[in-house]
Amino acid sequence: MLDVRSLDLHYGAAQALRSVSMKAEIGKVTCLVGRNGVGKSSLLRAIVGLKPVSGGSIGWDGADVTKMAPADRARRGIAYVPQGREIFPLLTVRENLLTGYAPLPRSQRSIPDEVFELFPVLKSMLDRRGGDLSGGQQQQLAIGRALVTRPRLLVLDEPTEGIQPSIIKDIGRAISYLRDKGTMAILLVEQYFDFARDLADDWVVMERGEVMLSGPRSGLDEQEVRKYLTV
C-alpha cells in the first residue's frame, strides 16, 4: 500500500504541495483529480522520486521510500507513466520497451503479451524511433513501457491525453483488468472525468496543493468531486 503523509514540496520558494496525505491500495484504482496547476503531477513526481520533498513521508509496502532514489523505487515495483510521455526519443520502440527490464531479474526479462494486445500499433513499429511516433503513439508506448516492469504500483499521469477514443476505452479496460488481478495498486491522475469515474475505487481531490477530499467512491458524492473541477 502506498501511504503518503503530510507531504510538503517546493519549487524554489514556491510551495506546490502542502501537507498532502493520501493512500493507494493494492487491487484498487485511486483517482487523483483537480484543476490545472493544483499539484497533481508534483505529487506523482514526489511519489516516484523525481522531485525531492521538503517534508512528510512516503511509505510503500510498509517501507519508508521518502529518500530513496527513483531507480530503487522502481525496483520496489513502482512504475510511472509521466505527463508528456517522456519516451526516449532516439531509442527504437523496442528499445524503449526494453528499458523496462532495468528493475527485473534476468529470468523475468520479457515483454508481457498484454502490452501488444493493448497497443497493437507498437508491435508494427518496433524498429521506429520513439521520437518519431505520433503523440498518441508515444503515449501508448509510455504506458506499455511501464507495464514491462511488472509494477505493483502503477502511477499514471493523464494517460488518456492525446489518445484516440477506441484506445482510451482499451486503456480503461486494461486498467480494470490490472486492478482485478489484485496484485497492483493504481494511482491515476485524470482530467477526463467520465473515464476516471468509471475506474475510480477511491478519490483524492486536490486544490492549490492541498487534498480537499478523499475516500472511496461509495463514500463520496460525485457532484462534490465535480465541484472542484469547475472553474
Binding site: 503531477s41 505527463q83 518519431d132 491525453e161 477514443p165 472553474v231
Partner: protein
C-alpha cells in the same frame, strides 16, 4: 474544385518518412471563416498535416495554396506565419524564460522585422489586448510568472492565448483541450466558436464531447488520407470510423 476563393487548399499532398507514408495524397479545402474539426487515429497524420501547412515539413508531392494563390510549399516557416497562419502545437511550447506577459507580447500581432522590434514600444491598445487575452485564458494572476514554471494545463492555456494574440487568419490548433478539465474543455470550445467566423480554424482533437460542442464539419483522417467527412453524427455512424477510431 478550384483553389480560388478558398483560404486553404490542399491537393494530393503526400509525405513519407523512410518509406512510411505519413500523408497519402491528402486533399482538404478550407473556406474563409470556416472552422473544421479533424479527428482520426493516433498516427493518422493530423500533426503531419499541420507540419506541412506551416512549412515545418516539406511535402513530397502535392499542392498547398493559401488564399487561392500563395504556394506554401515554397515558403519558409516565418513567411508562412506572416501570411496569417498561426499554430498551437500538440505539446505545449511556450518561451520558458519569459514571463507569461512577455510570451503574449511576443506573439502579439505587430511588425516582425528586426529593426521594427528593436524600436518597438508597447501601445495602449496592445496592452489592453494582452490584458484581454490574459482574462480569457485566466492567466491574469500569473502574468509575471515565468512560463517555464507553469503546470502543463497552464501552458496549454498560455499557448492558446499566444495564438489569439497573433490574430492569424487561419488557426491550426492541435489538441487544445488535452489535460484540461471538462469545464475548461467547454470553455475552450466556446472560445474557438467565438473566434470562428472572423478567422478560420482547424482543430485536431480526440475528445469527442469537445468536437461535439464545436458543432462543425468533421474530417476523419486515417493512414494519411481522408476517410470520411461530414457532421460528427454522420461520421460517427461510419463503420470504418468506428472500427479504426471510436471503438465500441
Amino acid at each position: 474544385m478550384s483553389a480560388e476563393s478558398t483560404l486553404l487548399y490542399l491537393d494530393g499532398v503526400s509525405v513519407s518518412f523512410d518509406g512510411f507514408k505519413a500523408l497519402n495524397s491528402l486533399s482538404l479545402v478550407m473556406m474563409p471563416g470556416e472552422m473544421r474539426a479533424i479527428i482520426g487515429p493516433n498516427g493518422a497524420g493530423k500533426t503531419t498535416m499541420m507540419d506541412v501547412i506551416t512549412g515545418k515539413t516539406r511535402p513530397d508531392t502535392g499542392t498547398i495554396l493559401f488564399e487561392g494563390d500563395t504556394d506554401l510549399t515554397r515558403l519558409r516557416e516565418a513567411a508562412i506565419a506572416n501570411l496569417g497562419i498561426g499554430r498551437k502545437f500538440q505539446r505545449p511550447t511556450v518561451f520558458e524564460p519569459h514571463t507569461v506577459w512577455d510570451n503574449l507580447e511576443l506573439a502579439l500581432k505587430a511588425p516582425r522585422r528586426p529593426l521594427k522590434t528593436l524600436t518597438y514600444a508597447i501601445s495602449r491598445d496592445d496592452r489592453s489586448r494582452i490584458e484581454e487575452i490574459l482574462d480569457i485564458t485566466r492567466l491574469s494572476a500569473l502574468r509575471n510568472r515565468q512560463a517555464g514554471s507553469l503546470s502543463h494545463g497552464q501552458k496549454q492555456w498560455l499557448e492558446i492565448g499566444m495564438l489569439l494574440a497573433q490574430d492569424p487568419k487561419l488557426l491550426l490548433v492541435d489538441e487544445p483541450v488535452a489535460g484540461m478539465t471538462d469545464a475548461e474543455t467547454e470553455q475552450t470550445a466556446e472560445l474557438l466558436c467565438s473566434i470562428a467566423g472572423k478567422h478560420s480554424v482547424i482543430v485536431v482533437e480526440h475528445d469527442m464531447s469537445f468536437v461535439r460542442a464545436l458543432g462543425v464539419k468533421v474530417t476523419v483522417l486515417a493512414e494519411g488520407s481522408v476517410l470520411a467527412e461530414g457532421s460528427l453524427d454522420a461520421v460517427s455512424a461510419n463503420q470504418q470510423v468506428i472500427d479504426t477510431y471510436l471503438g465500441r
